[in-house]
């Protein structure tokens, strides 16, 4: 089962499952099994933005005027976001591209990962603008035990799947002796790893990111670090698309029309996925503890952030047809909704710094009278 960059087999792409079918050969989008991924690509492309479009000159003075404990909250949150996007900028490509079997899904994964690299670049843009020595912040990501603990839970399932897929591609299904160790490659086991990976990515995009967004927007609610909030707003708009895509994948798996075995696995893993969601919620709460260890900020403290973790976890679990584990009913941070609206991301340049432009909006209506002065 060696990976082929251009599969010579002839097959009907519409009859392939999403993953673990034939390797994709022709990147064709004239016929599609799941049109939704094409729609997601279109939407993601229309969202294109560059970090440099957002002016952060006011953030530098805002940041230097923040009290120490708020600096800690801001910088730690930024480090966490940097970690998450470092993972997301490469892992979907490395883990999912070797096993994907549909051209539109393959292209969506590439488009998705690419947009995460823009997010990574935007964190450098932010950090460069607020501190004289960005290196200190980046270096600490690898040394800070709290961040490293987060990395472990975020990457575990990815690494597990990547290792399994490597063995599958190199040796195929069966029992193999690799470096003196016996390794069993079983396709069903691999599919299970895939399902858990997609679930863990959904948790990353749908819960972990949103908790960090809440911190970013809490500053902007007080008219502090507004440039940063503008960048985060653009990132949040992208993340909403990404989490929609992983929700679709999970639901398509669960329905079983794509790959009947996947539906069995989805049922089998339900308890495990519920546990993953609640574990992630607990990890986010522990993180909140670290964030606010030196004191809370106006508008946000450990308790409120923990309530928000529970609220968003409920929402996201219901979205993939899992029972909501927490009792919190209403959004403890109602202003989050307004920050996450996508249509007011676009602003007139005279109203504020240019943050995003919809490129290519052309008035296609031409009245015949416009040609009145033409003569041949």
């Amino acid at each position: 089962m060696t990976y082929q960059t251009f599969n010579r087999n002839e097959f009907n792409a519409l009859e392939q499952p999403m993953f673990f079918g034939e390797n994709v050969n022709v990147s064709r989008y004239d016929v599609q099994k799941y049109g939704i991924f094409e729609q997601l690509i279109e939407k993601q492309l229309s969202f294109f933005w560059r970090p440099e479009e957002v002016d952060l000159s006011n953030d530098r003075s805002d940041f230097s005027n923040l009290p120490e404990h708020e600096k800690h909250i801001f910088v730690s949150n930024l480090k966490y976001q940097t970690l998450l996007d470092s993972v997301q900028g490469r892992s979907p490509n490395v883990a999912l591209l070797p096993i994907v079997s549909l051209p539109e899904l393959e292209t969506w994964i590439e488009t998705w990962s690419f947009s995460e690299t823009i997010h990574s670049r935007s964190y450098t843009h932010i950090i460069r603008n607020i501190v004289p020595n960005p290196g200190e912040i980046f270096d600490d990501i690898m040394h800070n035990e709290h961040i490293i603990a987060r990395a472990e839970s975020v990457t575990r399932y990815y690494d597990d799947l990547i290792e399994g897929v490597n063995n599958y591609n190199n040796f195929g299904v069966g029992t193999h002796s690799i470096n003196g160790q016996e390794v069993v490659v079983d396709l069903r086991e691999l599919k299970k790893k895939l399902y858990l990976t997609v679930a863990s990515v959904n948790i990353l995009e749908a819960i972990r990111f949103y908790v960090s967004f809440a911190c970013s927007f809490a500053f902007a609610e007080r008219a502090k670090m507004e440039g940063n909030a503008k960048v985060i707003k653009l990132i949040a708009r992208d993340e909403a698309l990404h989490l929609t895509s992983t929700q679709h994948m999970m639901q398509i798996f669960a329905q079983g029309k794509d790959d009947p075995e996947m539906a069995e696995i989805a049922q089998e893993c339900e308890q495990e996925v519920i546990q993953m969601f609640t574990d992630a919620a607990q990890q986010e709460k522990d993180w909140a503890d670290y964030l606010f260890k030196e004191g809370s900020m106006i508008g946000l403290n450990k308790e409120i952030l923990c309530q928000y973790v529970e609220y968003i976890t409920n929402q996201r679990m219901q979205a993939v047809n899992l029972p909501a584990p927490f009792t919190v009913k209403s959004n403890p941070l109602p202003w989050m909704d307004a920050w996450l609206v996508s249509d007011n991301v676009q602003v007139a340049p005279q109203e504020s710094e240019i943050s995003s432009y919809l490129v290519g909006a052309i008035d296609a209506e031409v009245d015949t009278e416009e040609f009145g002065e033409f003569s041949l």
Partner: protein, 172 residues
């Protein structure tokens, strides 16, 4: 902002503490049948229909949702169809409900918000799925194809308008 030099307001206009403020528009009690609320079979939610009918419903007859320049359906001067929307489980409380009217708003979400029914939202363009709501009965038309995953009995209020009277149940 230019200030109006010939300000005709008297001080008394602002003394709200002493007298009841005049409502902006009068709400009239409507016979329930007029808005075909009868047709909303509430039985499926173990709804006490006798208590429901005795209650007075205050449904604004005018433009509750403040019509904008681009209404959702252009009918060449004809009155836009009004649909009654019964919403259950507001405030996460199984028994709580509200009845609102949809007529002028651009989409169902705007209409609900204008009439003080809170639905969580995010993108307002149909791709994030935050406003997913259970449709108990009725039919909606989508203004744009929803991209978020929705189950068969669910709708995204941010990008649809009612085609008939609706019964919705908000997420807990």
């Amino acid at each position: 902002m230019p200030t109006n030099k010939t300000d005709t307001h008297k001080n008394s206009d602002f003394q709200l503490d002493n007298r009841a403020q005049k409502p902006f528009f009068e709400l009239e009690s409507e016979p329930v049948a007029l808005l075909s609320l009868e047709s909303l079979a509430m039985d499926s939610l173990s709804f006490d229909s006798a208590a429901f009918e005795q209650q007075e419903f205050f449904i604004p007859l005018g433009n509750a949702e403040q019509p904008e320049e681009t209404p959702q359906i252009e009918l060449d001067g004809m009155a836009k169809p009004a649909h009654a929307v019964a919403v259950h489980n507001i405030n996460g409380d199984e028994a709580s409900r509200a009845v609102v009217q949809f007529q002028h708003a651009n989409n169902l979400l705007e209409s609900l918000e204008a009439q003080d029914v809170y639905v969580p939202y995010q993108c307002r363009e149909g791709y994030c799925g935050s406003c997913r709501t259970q449709l108990v009965s009725g039919e909606v038309a989508y203004l744009q194809e929803p991209m978020a995953w929705i189950n068969n009995d669910e709708i995204l209020p941010c990008c649809c308008v009612p085609k008939t009277d609706l019964q919705l149940k908000l997420k807990g």
